[in-house]
Symmetry: D2
């Protein structure tokens, strides 16, 4: 913690800050400059917010020095995390991995049909929801366990892994029976009880960035899972909320290289939720790979115009094939394969 | 649903939209204008997003006409909801009601001391957390049930009601034993499983606006609770996230008159979380009352410099007294008492 | 400038930063901590951005210590600036000063009528535009000099001062002949050639905050005017752009106490542009005064439904009277008169 | 204009809206639905804002149907605009065009050196500022005409075109003597007097998106230039301001396909200002091309650590070469060359 005192701070004010830091078990180094006195404190920054010091009399500014996350930091594992699945698929390695599928499992024919087409086009995971967080209580809320069963069967039939969303810590046990990768949705990025329980799961976790979450907050949420002992966490950029309303969200693709610098965790991108409109998915999927994403989550539906949810952002199967072909051209520019 | 077709939309494209609406059980009214054909559809808008039609060929724009929330709408209860507590305190009536207290219950002396001082200054509820959602897993997470017991005792000793946060649907039963008003924090505003269960609670709910939630989304979250049968919901504006970082959040005080127009539910304001800095709490608390808030949530701590959480935004007890005196001057300007 | 080096920064990297600072005429103080080496640099921070050091190898973080503005800082004039006009009206003193009038001067009867009614209700300045910055080239662009003449006459007839917008440095000479306070609109807050020329004007300047401007940027724009020798600058909060679209902008009322702390300049609030809707103007005007604003800018029109611009946010004259009565109740809560 | 009346709107209220539209020379089509009456108005939408009708009694919602811009709309020129320069370079055609160079012209050796290296790497334009809009009045403001002379000579020596910023309408004449493409900076995107004068220039204009500008506002600003008769306008996405502060701005790359759909104008991307940090420029430059940008603006400096402005975001010359090689791999994925 670095505390910069005001130009005219009194000796008493300076001592007040030192006393407070010492009380909190910090060791303090004082540096008296020509204009400002600067205090450097080393100690347990966990519970001390810079704001707490900033409101003290005589304090001009206060900055945290160490990152509030430890296990998620790049320094903790400089070589980068690769999440490997039993079938050998690896996320975070040289291959760009694509997960594709409908927003929700709707029926057996639907999920079988889409599994076949995304597998053929080169996807390694099928994505689909059985429990849907919907902003309206009157919207379709998912098929529940029935949907998970259909999803697992479709995946098995086509050699795919399964990623699906867990909404609540009480659902973890059920989901673990059917899926390979547990997805935490954007609205749950700060559901700490859920994160804490996922720290005890044997399954890897795909953690989506909240629509108003900073990159630091995303890494802190990952820290909850890591600190519970589950080191297989994959992050996901899926758009943040800004004043621009033409697209549903604004994809912050710069978050990809930023996360790569700050953390060792893999990061995927979700251009379907990131844009909300089918005709913007291809450009943003290509852009995400060009920016260095380790993988993509893409919504594809056999008949988007009749989808029970998110039809507007789902690709037609042939659009998905086109996309995969384009990505194969781009991947070598970032030394990746696909 | 109003669908505006492109200037040059073909008859086939127009028919495509009509067919889709009819398939979804809408009755459609077609209005052929000089430039644009406009389709008006009346039907079950619940699952149909304007985006779904907007991506259809020939469609220029699509607008929802009816509000996606029903029970939360002003039209459902034009006279306004007043939430009354067993001791006669009423939120949403002519009196501006203030809840005050520390961020967290830390100890019995702390909570007793603050209960005494806020009650004396005129607060009607004590607010304090026993379960704390903290962005870092290494921060103080609250005293749990032990804290609730202390909180209840302090409240009883000073004739106060208790408001405290529920983080998860599995905690509802426990909280109901100790508190009068169940608070849903900003990070949980879209935790739908929690909201759904609260719809079955016998206790009123204080629902805080998420930092990136629109007013419409806040009302939709309230709808989850109302649609479960719990009509005693109080909303709370506590700041949204913007590019301005001088204050922790940007309080959107215009949300107060906006909510008053759109909904019958009472709305409070939380200037402590809304600003994050003690010296901004008084101005924004006064402003919230001047803007028409039905009540306030204010953090007050007997010794903010030693608070285990959120000390920077907690008032000293004498500042809280000053605030109450200022609010008593302002209330008559909006035909309220305090 | 405080530079925090990475935990494992090499001696060569540390020396690289020191050399760079020395080259830029900074004197450097090195403080070697247990984990991080911290460098404190004192020197001409004008052209050195923290970003410039932050990208150097081995640098973890870099923070500016001194404010980039000097003349606008509270320290430069601790007692606060009061802008006094020839007729004795003072902005920044104990009285809350209200400027009211239509968006644009439209005709002589219109401006005479509104001048009469706002003067009667207690406004001290009339506000109206003769040059209008409109986002569409096809919208009404103002009456120009003809409008200024009408405006001046109406003001004189009713003992009012005049505030009107200058869009461009080439218009300053013309405006100075007719107005008492030169307004810089939000879109021009960073039109530096305009600001620089206003630094040489003999008239005070009302500087509106840009819709995406931070408080620091607002103060830096004020610095341009102050550094040219014109010390009579009044700031104005008028809403920032956020994701919430129910109101046109989100008023950041916390900016009022923040500016009061950082700067000696008076600050007004514009609830008409801040909300964009007539029925939100009263609540937000009251809130602004409760938050400590030195004055208000309010749009009032004799016949808002026929206004050539911004009719939706203009008050009816009798609403303005009601507002003034409410403000007279609130002002004493902040030790002000009106 | 589509006006949706409230469910219970009275006949008098409906007639009030009709009268107002008729007064404004709209022809009105009334459609009486089961629940809502909907009015469709065709007429001069220029000066009528949806807000003006929205505040009328009985009105539920109001939507503009026609775009407020005409000449910038895709419909006006479905085949897309290609801006061609005298030397045959074409922006908006199949080739992705790159402009590169330092933030500011600093000296003759600097600009000659960088011109040589960017030309060799494949840039077609050199970019550099002679007039710099700086947020602090104490920062380096550019070399003025002297800088333009150096810039022109360096460009000529290496077969490059010149793009440089015009800050003010009074500078247009001077700039036209030296540059091939007049750049309007983000801060001036709504400087309407400047835009209007540029409508009369014989040089093409590069119009940067303001940091808080919606895509619609960007197109409206282009409309100002087009409506003056200058049809050679190129848009530029350079990042918007959001709550995420790790990068200076958040690049909204989805704006590229959105603009391509709404407008016929070419669009470039500026990853240097869009990110503010050198190590993020390559990923975002690649991403912009993958998203379909017609060109790039990239800051390159022979010695970024000694740059007088924006050094932190300037590439080293060899990084720029690497980038160009990567872009040549990506371009075919979007059917482009480079």
């Amino acid at each position: 913690m670095i505390v910069v005192m005001e130009a005219g701070a009194s000796e008493e004010q300076i001592q007040g800050v030192i006393d407070r830091l010492v009380m909190l078990n910090f060791s303090v180094h004082r540096s008296t400059g020509v204009i400002h006195t600067v205090l450097g404190g080393v100690g347990p920054e966990g519970d001390l917010s810079p704001d707490d010091l900033q409101v003290m009399p005589g304090v001009k500014e206060c900055h945290r020095v160490t990152s509030p996350y430890k296990l998620a930091a790049r320094a903790f594992k400089p070589e980068g995390t690769v999440v490997e699945f039993p079938n050998g698929v690896r996320i975070g390695g040289p291959e760009v991995v694509v997960a594709a599928g409908p927003c929700s499992v709707e029926s057996e024919p639907q999920i079988q049909s889409i599994a076949a087409s995304v597998a053929k086009a080169g996807a390694k995971l099928i994505r689909a929801g059985a429990f849907k967080p919907r902003s309206s209580p009157y919207s379709f809320q998912g098929l529940g366990e029935q949907g998970l069963i259909m999803l697992r069967e479709a995946a098995n039939a086509h050699g795919l892994l399964v990623v699906s969303e867990v909404m609540d810590h009480t659902q973890i046990g059920l989901l673990e029976q059917y899926v390979d990768l547990l997805q935490v949705g954007a609205r749950n990025m700060q559901n700490y009880n859920l994160l804490r329980e996922l720290g005890r799961s044997s399954k890897p976790v795909l953690l989506k960035r909240g629509i108003a979450a900073t990159i630091e907050e995303l890494l802190l949420s990952a820290e909850y899972i890591l600190s519970g002992g589950n080191y297989r966490v994959i992050l996901c950029e899926r758009g943040i909320r800004t004043f621009e309303t033409y697209t549903r969200n604004t994809m912050d693709l710069a978050a990809i290289p930023v996360v790569k610098k700050l953390s060792h965790l893999p990061i995927m991108a979700d251009p379907s939720h990131g844009t909300g409109r089918r005709d913007k998915v291809l450009p943003m999927a290509r852009a995400a790979v060009a920016a260095g994403a380790d993988g993509l989550l893409v919504e594809v539906h056999p008949d988007p115009d009749r989808a029970l949810s998110d039809g507007a952002q789902s690709l037609y199967p042939d659009q998905f094939e086109t996309l995969m072909a384009q990505l194969r051209i781009i991947a070598p520019a970032v030394d990746r394969t696909l």
